[in-house]
């Protein structure tokens, strides 16, 4: 039996300090107070003084509350039994199922050796033309969805989760509104995707420290599955809440803030999570899609800014649509050469024409006269938005490409679109 400690000498925010011996850095402890027992993690050792971050918060912790060290860091059970289950941030079941204790693995494990990575090569089909055609999602990619509060980003996540051709889905919810959690769960359930999903959910009402654990729990499980050969899709929402939780803890610990109160290691902290996205040679893969809400719709805010430097592109979700400008999949070039010969041409041409449409629209709104070319563009732009950008459109890539040609043919002459002649000859819809 491990020794119990009763002398808590400091309580500040969610961090308590206790005098104890033989404690290892990052290990877990159980803190028993009048409010029950909570897990806590060692975050600083200073001679005999041990600082612990109490997962359930320090409310109700007495100076003589009981602290028992467990001798191991935070772990999660990684087995097939997790599928279909829902847990809280610290791994306690949220559904009515039993707690899992088998095959416990440490969370926040070491980085993948860069020498063992391979160049990503497989497209993930989502049925969303704005993704499949224009910014193709690639297996092992890490991509954030930049959005603002009120946008349907969770709906988009759920749609991708249901339609993506992956073996299992791990959803990490951070600071989720309870309603959003229910919606996500029910949507996955309705479409039969729940049985191949694992959820780690921290809701807005849960203790903030548990929020910090969510990505590590989700990614540790994902890594376990991927090494075993599965293609795993990890969905995280919302990483801004995760960053805010880090900020809260850092300030409690009296760390010197760097930018807008965020700790100096924000970049490293985010990167160590996102970099878990990987394609293992001879095994499975991890793909990460993460919602990052931009406070004040400001992309230079530290969280989206640091995220942008880490991830391989980004989707901007604006007014319920994936914005064609600004959105980028850095890995699309790796896969869109092998899909269909006209993929890149359609991708470039349609976006270029859509940019021209936006210019015409601007001219129109300023009251300039519309030329014949402007009229064509206006017709094209409306169709592009309805057929490609509308998120309710759900068609496979090939159909989307065909629809692209059809749209071009309806609005323009072949010579006007600037596509190489041999592609026009092959793909331009023939008039009956």
């Amino acid at each position: 039996m491990r020794k119990l400690y009763h002398r808590i000498i400091q309580i500040s925010g969610n961090v308590i300090t206790v005098e104890a011996e033989n404690v290892t850095y990052n290990e877990l402890a159980e803190v028993t107070s009048t409010r029950g027992t909570s897990l806590a993690q060692v975050i600083r050792l200073d001679k005999g003084r041990v600082s612990l971050q109490v997962f359930a918060g320090s409310r109700g912790v007495a100076t003589d509350s009981q602290v028992r060290f467990l001798g191991h860091p935070m772990r999660v059970s990684a087995t097939e039994n997790l599928l279909g289950r829902i847990f809280s941030g610290n791994g306690v079941p949220r559904d009515k199922g039993p707690a899992l204790k088998d095959n416990l693995i440490d969370i926040g494990g070491p980085s993948v050796n860069p020498a063992n990575r391979v160049i990503p090569r497989n497209m993930i089909r989502t049925g969303i033309p704005m993704i499949d055609v224009f910014n193709t999602l690639v297996e092992s990619q890490k991509l954030p969805i930049f959005s603002v509060a009120g946008e349907p980003y969770n709906e988009l996540l759920a749609r991708i989760a249901m339609q993506a051709e992956v073996d299992c889905i791990i959803l990490g919810g951070m600071g989720l509104k309870y309603d959003d959690f229910l919606t996500l769960r029910d949507t996955l359930d309705e479409h039969g995707a729940l049985s191949r999903s694992v959820m780690f959910i921290h809701t807005a009402a849960d203790p903030v420290v548990e929020c910090l654990l969510v990505p590590d729990m989700a990614l540790a499980v994902a890594e376990h599955y991927a090494v075993a050969g599965q293609r795993v899709l990890v969905l995280l929402t919302d990483m801004t809440n995760f960053a805010d939780a880090m900020k809260e803890i850092a300030i409690t610990m009296e760390q010197i803030p760097s930018n807008r109160g965020y700790p100096g290691d924000l970049y490293s902290q985010l990167a160590s999570r996102y970099e878990k996205a990987v394609d293992f040679e001879g095994a499975g893969s991890i793909t990460i899609l993460a919602v990052t809400t931009m406070p004040g719709d400001d992309v230079t805010h530290p969280v989206p800014d640091n995220t942008g430097y880490i991830t391989e592109g980004q989707f901007y979700l604006v007014r319920g649509r994936i914005e064609p400008f600004g959105s980028l999949s850095r890995l699309k070039q790796q896969v869109n050469k092998d899909t269909r010969d006209d993929h890149r041409a359609i991708m470039d041409t349609m976006i270029r024409l859509y940019a021209e449409y936006r210019e015409s629209l601007e001219k129109q709104s300023m009251g300039f006269r519309m030329s014949q070319w402007d009229e064509k563009l206006l017709r094209y732009g409306e169709r592009f938005e309805a057929r490609m950008m509308d998120l309710s459109v759900n068609i496979p890539l090939e159909e989307a490409l065909d629809l692209g040609w059809q749209t071009l043919a309806e609005c323009f002459e072949p010579a006007e679109v600037g596509v190489k002649t041999d592609l026009v000859n092959r793909f331009w819809p023939k008039k009956d």
Partner: protein
């Protein structure tokens, strides 16, 4: 003193910083190992206060407890220098990553260290110095071919004074630890091996003198070599917001620069980017040597999810390797992507040390460290009269794309060329997104200065007209001004912009740049006659198309000549109209 005596005990852990109580003496910046069970975690002494030393640990500190043993090594953080460094992929502490993968599998294993240089491999050694010769540190003892280079074996840089050769190994196949010579300074005889070590944070200065970097380093990137050149032995930086194409630019530089050796320091960036270099370079041919590009490349790779303290070290490791090859009279290009991540590593450590923060919580000594790093670049004359150089190019990732932040500003003070990448240009798909009006360079261009001034003037005037047109519209702009605008757009489209994915366009040696620039200038200087703006626009559209065809045809081929003739005809049409 025996090693046993240099020990300490852990008294505190905070993130990757460990405080250690010691009894004897410690050396600032010496390497120490924290013993956790069976693993020894490499760390570095970064502060000493009373009988406590603060260590930054190059690994995760999980599981360390108060009272754990710490072994001090009495040696500063050093790298191994010798044949076999080229083509390798190291982490920030010079562990070869592929060898780590062989031993540990998919994941990096804590406390696993591998010798950087293969002790078994044999090199064809040829002695150069004779018995009786007097040598100084850095002087050549012999050589061994390493790929396409004559790898000089030198008297270790760390030895001081003059040494007389008392024995030399005959030519033959030797390993890096076999003695190749014995030297004596009168009181002591030492073995010289092909392997020597050097502390990374101290510059190697065994040369006669530093020279002014005069020659242009041809990168084959038009907007750099012509407009914002870099010199062999100079420094430059490429700050830019995310998505502006820093990485593509760095890749192009690493592939096409006309230097002997390229060292890529992937410091705190995505692993995926290194993987592309790692997997593609062995299959790409270096047009200058006909060998694989990997043969002239060393990759130092400490990506964003690898331990932060090792990221700090990786910058120093890479520049030390660069200095080593410079000592052989070679021209080395060091590309550091990104120095902002290095600065952030410094910031994290400074925060843990509870130092008084400077701007944006970066340490107050950030500027001197940035300056110290870039000052390790330079063109030098070695003791034997040959010349070697290090050119340093640092990518900077400013928060929010704002160049006012401390790292960009500290860098701008010490570099000779500033290639500012702009989001505006990258959004408009104008690559490379080097901003032609904001960037600057103090080095010499491949084209004549007065020609360059004319081109710059066109860019500036064109921009003014463009701004004006946004207010008064195209109809309110005089045709002459409109033509200036079209000329600046042409210069941008056919000369500043360049596709690195098109073989013909990407390949732009100095000779070709001089030739093509003269042609573009001829168009800029020409006084064309146009009836109206639509006429002018359509003319310049044709001109642009003609130049783009020219750019995409290989230098000195028939199609190149043909495309050039088309341009000449167009110029004539424009003049005669």
């Amino acid at each position: 003193m025996t090693e046993q005596q240099h020990q300490g005990r852990v008294v505190g852990v905070n993130g990757n910083m460990v405080s250690v109580a010691f009894d004897t003496s410690v050396i600032q910046n010496e390497v120490a190992y924290v013993v956790v069970g069976d693993t020894r975690l490499k760390s570095e002494v970064i502060r000493v206060r009373g009988n406590e030393a603060d260590l930054q640990v190059f690994e995760s500190t999980n599981g360390i407890r108060v009272g754990d043993t710490v072994e001090f090594s009495r040696e500063l953080l050093s790298v191994e220098l010798g044949p076999g460094l080229l083509t390798q992929v190291f982490d920030g502490l010079q562990n070869p990553l592929p060898r780590l993968a062989e031993q540990a599998g998919f994941f990096l294993q804590r406390g696993l260290y591998v010798q950087p240089l293969d002790r078994e491999r044999r090199w064809a050694y040829t002695p150069k110095a004779a018995v009786g010769d007097t040598l100084r540190p850095g002087d050549t003892v012999g050589s061994a071919p390493e790929g396409i280079f004559e790898h000089r074996i030198m008297v270790p840089f760390a030895w001081s004074g003059e040494w007389q050769v008392t024995w030399t190994a005959p030519a033959g196949e030797l390993t890096v630890v076999d003695p190749v010579a014995k030297v004596s300074n009168g009181s002591e005889e030492r073995n010289v091996t092909m392997l020597q070590t050097w502390p990374v944070k101290i510059p190697i200065t065994n040369y006669k003198q530093r020279l002014f970097p005069r020659d242009t380093l041809v990168t084959n990137i038009r907007c750099i070599d012509t407009f914002f050149p870099v010199a062999k032995g100079g420094t430059f930086c490429t700050p830019g917001p995310f998505g502006a194409g820093k990485t593509v630019l760095q890749h192009a530089l690493s592939r096409r620069s006309e230097v002997d050796i390229v060292i890529v320091a992937a410091c705190g960036e995505r692993a995926g980017e290194v993987v592309e270099v790692l997997r593609e370079f062995p299959h790409l041919e270096d047009p200058r040597t006909g060998r694989s590009l990997m043969d002239r490349t060393i990759i130092i790779c400490n990506t964003s999810s690898m331990p932060v303290a090792a990221r700090e070290a990786s910058i120093y490791t890479s520049v030390t390797l660069a200095e080593y090859y410079r000592q052989m009279g070679l021209h080395v290009l060091l590309l550091a992507d990104s120095t902002s991540r290095w600065a952030q590593a410094l910031r994290e450590m400074s925060g843990r040390l509870e130092e008084i923060p400077g701007e944006e919580a970066f340490p107050a000594y950030l500027e001197s460290l940035v300056a110290g790093f870039y000052e390790r670049a330079g063109l030098v004359e070695l003791n034997d009269g040959s010349r070697g150089s290090i050119t340093i190019g640092g990518a900077v990732s400013p928060a929010g794309g704002n160049f006012e932040e401390p790292v960009t500003q500290a860098t701008l003070k010490v570099v000779g060329s500033f290639l500012g990448l702009s989001r505006e240009r990258s959004n408009a798909r104008r690559y490379p997104a080097v901003h032609p009006l904001e960037s600057w360079s103090k080095y010499r261009s491949v084209v004549a200065a007065k020609d360059l001034d004319r081109a710059r003037q066109i860019l500036r005037s064109g921009n003014e007209v463009d701004q004006m047109m946004k207010v008064v519209g195209e109809e309110g702009t005089p045709t002459d001004d409109f033509v200036v605008y079209l000329k600046s757009e042409l210069l941008d489209a056919v000369y500043l912009q360049q596709s690195f994915f098109d073989e013909a366009d990407a390949d732009c040696p100095a000779e070709k740049q001089v030739y093509c620039f003269a042609k573009v200038l001829a168009v800029l200087d020409a006084k064309f006659q146009f009836t109206d703006k639509a006429d002018a626009r359509s003319f310049f559209h044709k001109m642009r198309q003609a130049f783009l065809d020219w750019n995409s045809s290989l230098w000195k081929t028939d199609s190149f000549t043909k495309a050039e003739a088309a341009i000449d005809r167009l110029i004539q049409t424009g003049l005669n109209a």
